[in-house]
């Protein structure tokens, strides 16, 4: 009842403006229909497939026209941009790259990316070099985005050790290398392969393992835990092969790094680190990191490692948060974060003291966005189940599933051969997103996405807690709060809150960063310092010791799909396009579209379903994208694909 109350009030408050708005809307709707009617089949399809039509009345005809133009021109523009920009400061890039994405919604972003086709960007800043690759599978509409960040942990250390030397030019080579690394990306299909997915947005974020670490370990003479091969990937990660490949390609760099490290290595005291932390930060922000001598104290490494993790996570978060500019921003933000983290790291380092960690300077994120078509939930499941089964098979795996707020999450973690893999799968009812569509609710949809993501991380943390021993107790506490924060101010998120969560998982051993973060975030400083010492390269079996893992993989799947239960299951574009279409002629008997209850006008495009019922194309297409039955007779539109669709 309260609801009605408020409604009434608001209603009376602005009847005028509302009426005007409605009138405008009606005008726009008319224009919309006209616009659609005048579109060629191709254009119509183009716009529909890219969700540019929105809903009638939502945007003006001009806007529609602009969109059409944009998308037509889009591909070319995009192609130009993609060129790799090596050596540029990432910070700068983000801005430039932002332009393409004007919308806010995830869908917008996805569409943009999709249109963009395959692009690669590289750059580096400070001690980090990054490379972003986006790939679109035109056929399936799958989109994959991967981001590699390599962090020269050395710099931090180095900087710490010798600040004056920052200037040394490490960047260029690194940047280049990174660029060189561009690997032939395995099409998302790898992941999706088995499933005949038709168009989907699947987001998979996987930080990739970094060889560097491994290398370093060996060099260092540290007990290598089944290092090089990232076998772990297979279990959880969608495209295992890819990871390996990458690792390989990467090797050159790592090695180099390694050598450097070794060279620079000297005992560094924790105290120093702390003091330096700030400096480091500054340096990193400046950009030039040097290969200068760095006293690679285990602690230092640990901290750096932590940082990296943070980065990876963070970037993920960012991407989610700001889908539209994801590509560009991801990188920069991550870096920023990193720099920020630097501080934290410094602090951590102090706390951790004993922690010994040599961490991979490279972070790989793979983001896959896939829209799971309504009928395909089985396939979706297969992803999850595959993940699950794999993880179960391996010795050290954890699986955590939950269903909350209509989202289904699966989180699993596995560890093997020194590689730890996290896979988080989140199913998001597509309608939550599409509801927002291009319009008003966008922010809501985004928020739910973000929340989703954050929650996912939270669970990650949760998992960690559950399995990791002692040190984690505080973690649990942190996570929720962090999440909360993150949710509250998604924009702000990057740095503080999420970061905390982020690092935690990797750090399971209780070594480090976590502590710091804790402090930062909440002041919950339960420091797990002691444990740090034990972080040693240990074979896969010891889950508790993160430090032992040379590789860390995070895989995040965002499966945007219709809910299995309530949500209807629709047809694919292809299926819809296969239905016959015609123009309305005056002689036709049935004159009204029963979806919009509007009479057909000369020249209207109608689509005829197998049951002979006809509708406006744009009306029925929208319905069929989520449902598979005729709005009048409820007969299944696709006989073969009947599944449970018939009600």
């Amino acid at each position: 009842m309260e609801g009605s109350d408020s409604l009434d009030q608001s209603g009376s408050d602005q009847p005028e403006s509302q009426r005007r708005r409605q009138l405008d809307r009606l005008d726009r709707e008319e224009a919309f229909y006209q616009f659609v009617n005048n579109l060629s089949d191709e254009d119509y399809r183009l716009m529909r497939d890219n969700n540019l039509l929105g809903t009638p009345g939502e945007v003006t005809e001009d806007e529609l026209f602009n969109r059409l133009q944009q998308i037509k021109d889009g591909p070319e523009q995009q192609n130009n941009t993609p060129s790799a920009e090596t050596g540029e400061d990432p910070v700068v890039q983000p801005e430039s790259s932002e332009d393409p994405a004007s919308g806010d919604s995830l869908l917008d972003w996805l569409n943009t990316v999709r249109r963009t086709g395959n692009t690669t960007r590289t750059g580096h800043r400070g001690n980090q070099s990054w490379r972003a690759v986006s790939q679109t599978n035109p056929n399936s509409g799958d989109f994959r985005f991967s981001l590699e960040i390599s962090v020269n942990r050395n710099l931090a250390e180095q900087q710490a050790a010798a600040e004056g030397e920052q200037e040394s030019p490490e960047e260029s080579p690194e940047g280049q290398e990174v660029g060189a690394n561009v690997e032939p990306q395995v099409p998302m299909e790898t992941e999706v392969v088995e499933e005949p997915v038709v168009e989907e947005l699947a987001v998979i974020v996987e930080p990739e393992p970094e060889l560097e670490e491994v290398v370093s370990q060996e060099i260092l003479g540290e007990p290598p835990s089944s290092p090089a091969a990232p076998p772990v990937q297979p279990p959880l990660s969608p495209s295992p092969r890819r990871g390996q490949r990458r690792a390989r390609s990467r090797s050159p760099e790592p090695r180099r790094t390694r050598a450097r490290t070794a060279r620079s290595r000297s005992p560094l005291s924790l105290d120093q680190l702390d003091g330096l932390a700030n400096l480091r930060q500054a340096h990193s922000s400046q950009g030039p990191n040097t290969a200068t001598s760095a006293p690679p104290v285990p602690q230092v490494e640990g901290s750096s490692r932590t940082r990296q993790h943070v980065l990876s996570r963070q970037s993920t978060a960012d991407s989610d948060v700001q889908p539209p500019r994801a590509v560009a921003e991801l990188v920069p933000e991550a870096q920023n974060v990193e720099s920020q983290e630097g501080e934290a790291a410094g602090g951590e380092g102090g706390g951790e003291g004993g922690a010994a960690g040599r961490r991979p300077p490279t972070i790989m994120l793979d983001l896959q966005v896939r829209r799971v078509r309504p009928g395909e939930y089985r396939q979706r499941d297969s992803i999850a189940s595959r993940t699950r089964s794999r993880s179960q098979n391996s010795n050290n795996t954890f699986l955590y599933e939950s269903e909350r707020g209509g989202f289904r999450r699966t989180f699993s973690r596995s560890e093997r051969a020194g590689v730890r893999t996290y896979v988080s799968t989140i199913r998001i009812p597509i309608r939550r997103i599409s509801d927002a569509g291009l319009g008003e609710a966008t922010s809501m949809a985004l928020q739910s996405m973000i929340r989703q993501i954050m929650t996912g991380f939270g669970e990650l943390g949760y998992l960690m807690d559950s399995d990791s021993d002692s040190s984690d107790s505080n973690r649990g506490a942190n996570t929720p709060s962090d999440l909360g924060e993150a949710l509250n101010n998604p924009d702000a998120t990057p740095a503080a809150a999420p970061a905390a969560d982020v690092d935690e998982p990797p750090v399971a051993a209780g070594v480090r960063a976590r502590t710091v973060e804790t402090d930062t975030v909440e002041g919950l400083a339960t420091v797990p310092p002691a444990s740090g010492g034990r972080a040693r390269p240990r074979p896969p079996i010891s889950l508790e010791e993160p430090s032992s893992l040379p590789f860390l993989r995070l895989a995040h799947f965002f499966l945007l799909n219709d809910d299995d239960e309530d949500q209807p299951q629709g047809l694919t574009k292809e299926q819809i396009d296969n239905l016959s279409m015609r123009n309305f002629g005056e002689s036709d008997a049935l004159k009204t579209c029963s979806v919009c209850i509007t009479e057909y006008a000369e020249g209207n495009k109608l689509r005829k379903l197998p049951c002979s019922h006809e509708y406006h194309v744009h009306c029925i297409d929208r319905w069929l994208s989520e449902n598979s039955t005729c709005p009048i007779c409820r007969r299944a539109v696709l006989v073969s694909a009947n599944r449970e669709s018939v009600v």
Binding site: D8, G11, P15, Q22, P568
Partner: protein, 192 residues
């Protein structure tokens, strides 16, 4: 917003040729918040009552069903204490049977029908439903009593204008909740 143009047409139709026993109108200027009244069918325990309903039209209408609930307390196996209606036309497939070719008028009609013929096999209120099935006499009595108490008395007020009647509805719905709670409390006693 297909919704706007469609609703415009629907409202026109509702005012020009309303389904029997049903009236529906816009609240204020809001296009997404409608009110309706259904006259209790003769021969049903709701006879003589006038039941108010709230209709929220979702953004995605007609691709999503309207959200309809009773404002007037009603004793019915498929309508719960807060007025929510268990009716397949109000849900999306595959669970439900909503389809864009339905409209507010048809949905209201089917609710009208549901009032006359409850569906105890898909109950929202389990106890009312079993009562309906196994002790129809009692069910009828109670339903009539509720109708008398909630749907009949404010008959006139409702007719006069929805504005005045809003608070009334609120009160009655509160009453309904209280009443149902009380009734729930009584229920076990009766059974034993």
């Amino acid at each position: 917003m297909q919704r706007a143009s469609r609703l415009k047409r629907e409202l026109q139709m509702l005012s020009t040729e309303p389904p029997p026993g049903i009236t529906c109108w816009q609240t204020e200027e809001r296009i997404d918040d409608l009110r309706a009244q259904i006259v209790g069918g003769s021969g049903t325990p709701y006879e003589g009552g006038l039941f108010s309903l709230e209709i929220k039209v979702p953004e995605r209408y007609p691709f999503e069903p309207p959200k309809i609930r009773f404002l007037t307390p009603i004793y019915h196996p498929n309508i719960d204490n807060s007025g929510r209606i268990c009716h397949d036309a109000l849900k999306l497939p595959p669970k439900g049977a909503w389809k864009p070719s339905l409209n507010i008028s048809t949905v209201l009609s089917s609710i009208h029908l549901l009032m006359a013929e409850p569906n105890p096999d898909d109950p929202l209120m389990a106890d009312i439903s079993s009562e309906f099935k196994y002790n129809k006499q009692l069910f009828m009595e109670k339903a009539r009593k509720w109708t008398q108490e909630h749907a009949v008395q404010k008959n006139t007020g409702v007719m006069e204008g929805n504005k005045e009647n809003t608070p009334d509805q609120k009160a009655s719905s509160r009453k309904r909740e209280a009443l149902s709670a009380q009734q729930e409390a009584e229920e076990p006693a009766k059974k034993t």
